[in-house]
């Protein structure tokens, strides 16, 4: 038994180590490059901190927003998106998991189709929708911090992100709700709770791992988003730019790309996600484990 198990374990480790090492080399390059004047492969040709100067002064001139403003934008966009995704998915998923109503099945399959739908094809129609929303006073483009919900606003981008994230969120949350015993809910109904209280006081506390997993996942998706912010904001120089767009400033046709600076900004964008991930990876695993831990 033991003799047979050992080579098997070794094989498993090998299969994990090889791809991990490849990815790790990439990160290592990123790290070394961001602190170097130039690099040859993984070898630094002189260390420097100058690549990080974007932290205190804008490398593109004063008309561009500073990195901190952009970071705040990204944070607000990710948080807003996460909040809406979690609240809406968990309410929708509860209804889909527990209630009978006409159209439930078709709603579920529609959500699944939307999840698999190539979102790129919707970019242009959504652009027109956002332009139209922009014309609505106040909520269009007059809200502080968010900008509003229309074109070229943080709120607008968040809204579109939410729309694309919801099908996934609903399915994940439904999985967690499905795993909670019906008895607990029935018991609460008999105890005198309304449907809303059952959802809020009985169900939600018991799917905390699911909520955590979905929040983290949504947050990371928002933080890393590129295509949607790129399409629905005025671009990298605008006041609604997010980190991924800011990064794009470095890469242009007219000037030589400073890869060391790109690496530094990339690392800067990466740090929160990595820290976040380190502390929460256990919960993230839940999301793909079918939410088994979501029960009792």
């Amino acid at each position: 038994m033991r003799l047979r198990q050992k080579p098997r374990a070794a094989l498993a480790y090998l299969a994990l180590i090889v791809p991990s090492a490849l990815i790790l080399v990439g990160f290592l390059w990123l790290f070394i490059t961001s602190f170097s004047i130039r690099t040859e492969g993984l070898r630094s040709l002189g260390w420097t901190l100058s690549n990080w100067s974007f932290l205190w002064k804008s490398p593109f001139g004063p008309q561009y927003p500073s990195i901190w403003w952009v970071t705040l934008n990204t944070l607000v966009m990710s948080l807003i998106m996460t909040l809406i995704v979690v609240v809406v998915s968990s309410m929708t998923a509860y209804a889909l998991s527990r209630m009978k109503f006409t159209g439930r099945k078709s709603f579920l399959s529609l959500t699944l189709i939307l999840h698999a739908f190539p979102s790129v094809t919707l970019l242009i129609p959504i652009y027109f929708v956002l332009i139209w929303v922009s014309k609505i006073p106040v909520i269009g483009r007059g809200v502080p911090l968010l900008g509003g919900l229309g074109y070229n606003t943080i709120g607008g981008v968040a809204l579109v992100m939410v729309a694309f994230q919801l099908p996934f969120g609903i399915w994940v949350m439904k999985g967690f709700f499905d795993n909670i015993s019906w008895d607990m809910e029935r018991s609460a109904l008999i105890d005198g709770a309304s449907r809303f209280r059952v959802w809020w006081e009985i169900m939600m506390p018991n799917i905390k791992p699911g909520i955590a997993a979905l929040s983290i996942f949504s947050f990371i998706t928002g933080w890393n988003a590129y295509l949607i912010p790129l399409t629905f904001t005025a671009g990298r120089a605008g006041k609604s730019a997010v980190l991924s767009l800011y990064l794009q400033n470095f890469i242009s046709e007219s000037v030589m790309t400073e890869w060391n600076a790109v690496a530094a900004v990339g690392l800067f964008q990466l740090i929160p996600v990595v820290i976040f991930f380190l502390f929460t990876q256990q919960m993230l695993l839940n999301i793909y484990g079918g939410g088994k831990k979501g029960g009792v």
Binding site: S181, D183, M184, R186, S187, A188, L189, I190, D191, G192, A193, R197, I202, P205, N206, V296
Partner: protein, 363 residues
Amino acid sequence: MKIIFKDLCKYFGRVKAVDNLNLEVGDGEFVALLGPSGCGKTTILLMIAGIYKPSKGFIYFDERVINDVSPKDRKIGMVFQSYALYPHMTVLNNIAYPLKLKKVHRKEIKERVQKVADMMGIGELLDRKPAQLSGGQQQRVALARALIKEPEILLLDEPLSNLDARLRIMMRSELKRLQKDLGITTVFVTHDQLEALTMADKVAVVNSGCLQQFSGPDELYNHPKNLFVAGFIGSPPINFISVSLQKSDGRFLLKNRYLQIELAKKIGSKAENNSTSSEILLGIRPEHITINKKEGIETEVYVVEPLGRDILVSVKLGKSMIKVLALPSFKANMGDRVRLNFNLDKIMLFDKKSEKSLLLDKD
């Protein structure tokens, strides 16, 4: 409070879970719904609770139809098989939850929780979480939560099935005592006939959604209305023997290849009047057969199983097997020839086709 079912039906799609149920549970009665798994007994309970709506028919609480009353307005308490405690709340908050929803004053909640918890013997556990309790303690918490509302009807779904054997016997008597002390109309669901017979005032035997018999434990055991009830109640189970009922010279005889029994005239004529054919089934419980080596129906010992208080002897009569409860003093080995005597006062006769008892007065 009385519970009355009138022509109650529940369909799930095409499946008839409950079929035309008519039943009356008296005020303060302790009633068991007994039947095999999937017979519809939990469905009935959930209809009383208001979780399921009847497809047809009515449920009355006293004179009031409650078909469309929501669960929280029915003044019921329910204990689920899984206990369904709220895992994220302490025992205190679990028990207090129904009162909190009723917006009872905090001080009063505390007093009432303490009172009911002391009654259930869990007064010391109020700060714990359900996961830190044993099965028996969890059940007491569930009971306390059901009772704190001072419900008029208490519903128990398989209340004892998750407990270990010893605790089950203890809780059986405790539940019975509690029910009598509080006088709450109680309906409980079980698939365990022993639980039903020992605890309930009246037992409703249900099979495939249909009520088979509704009577006291004694009646159920000694005068089952049909083959299903006779076969379902009793452990070790009743023996059924295929016989033909014959009448000669004014005497009634039960005969087959291996036995011949003379029936009392009263029983015989009743059976003859009720039966549609002379081929009938004789039912006799294992404890109503005596076994000896001298006189009676001749059989052969197949196997002997000591049960402690008595021994269970399986004997072969032709091709069929008959189980007999004998005193521990009875000694026999496999293959021994033994003789059986049936207690004629205790025999039951059933029609083969309708499966109904032939000894009941026609309604």
